[in-house]
Amino acid sequence: MAQSPQHLFELQATQKPGRRHKNGSSGPHFHRLLAQFSLCRALALLFLVSLCAAPHTTARAQEPPYFVTYSEALEEPGNLEVAQKGTTGSPKDANAFYSATLELEYGAKAWWTTELYLQGQATANDSTIFTGFRWENRFRVLPTEHAINPVLYIEYEDVNGADKSVLEVTGHDGIANFQGRNAAGRGDISRTMEGKLILSSNPKGWNISENWILEKNMMGGAWEFGYAVGASRPFALAAASRACTFCRQNFSAGAEVYGGLATVHDFGFQDTSQYAGPTAYFNIPHGPTLGFSPQFGLSDNSAGVLWRLTISYEIQQFRDLFSKKEAQ
């Protein structure tokens, strides 16, 4: 979104002359402000897309209420989901933070979902910065349903050391990730390939999903491992015969456990962070899906509590907006 001239003037006025770079460029302060505006733009874009898409939106079809764990559920082909995933916490010996992730998930095929994440975070007594992006793809392996349904996940990450989104935990990720200053972390860029084996089952209305994670920083370092496990169930398995917002079938709840499994050199739980917590989703009919979860650190290397929030809209048949085919 373009800033108004008045807004840009106010932005320039907030820059103190003494903090400008010697060579006349705006310097680190300006870059920090620029990064803040990148995040603001991303969030503004989210709301703009959501507003534009309002007539096409609906709640997701019973997606399990997980924040870290993936299930076999893919985006329906042609649909675009726009989501904001937030994580906040106040870890030991670190400033409180809020991490925002804008998620754009598109169903390319019935067996293939592709997803782009844009991430940023704000830390108290520090700054607000853009921390990077991720591009992930999920592929359904088998053409029909089985007792356990495998999905392959491949992701490319380009994030810096100030990332606090905790979208997964691998290797020795731990509380130190929250304790550094943003200025120090932002220059520590890591480009990583990540693979997951997602195994998911749907017995008697429940969903049970297990993820096994393998991650490699392409700029060096050992192979890292992680896991996530979730179980959930809707409050009602059959739908009500009348339209209602607060019917039981619109709510689902569960729990998830996830953490790191160290590296190929020291596989195990030693010096890793582990989290567990209850999760809940509320699918508003013909509206957004809201999610909430407090997740508790289980090891010394974990943050005490991470509070997670999500709001997502699904734009059904987004591709039809660009299609000229006549209805048949």
Partner: protein
Amino acid sequence: MRTSRTWWITLILLSISTVALVAAESSWLSKVPPADRQRVNPYADRPEAIAAGKLLFEENCAKCHGSDAEGRHGRPSLRSERVAHATEGELAWLLRNGSLHKGMPSWSSLPEPERWQLIAFLRSLPRDGPPAALAHH
């Protein structure tokens, strides 16, 4: 020697592609196991299940298959002869598994009772009737 190996690799790839294409192109109806084919809808003809199925249809299916279930943008009509002649078990199998190569996703994340409610609604639709007919359900 190298030419021979290249031919073998090409032949194997072509065979795999052909098998995949045939598998993808064959009708989903032919893939339904006999046991699934015989299944019966526990919600059949129940008015409250049909009403619930209509709401589920509007929420999950109408955007692709049209609010009148007659199909749109090249996606099939659900009031066709083929759907009308399919058994409830066959429709249940399709909803659970999808037909991934034809663009129909799996709806296994919908609880099974909701999938049966959807089928009860589909069964209540008039065959190739006028779009206005849906408004009476």
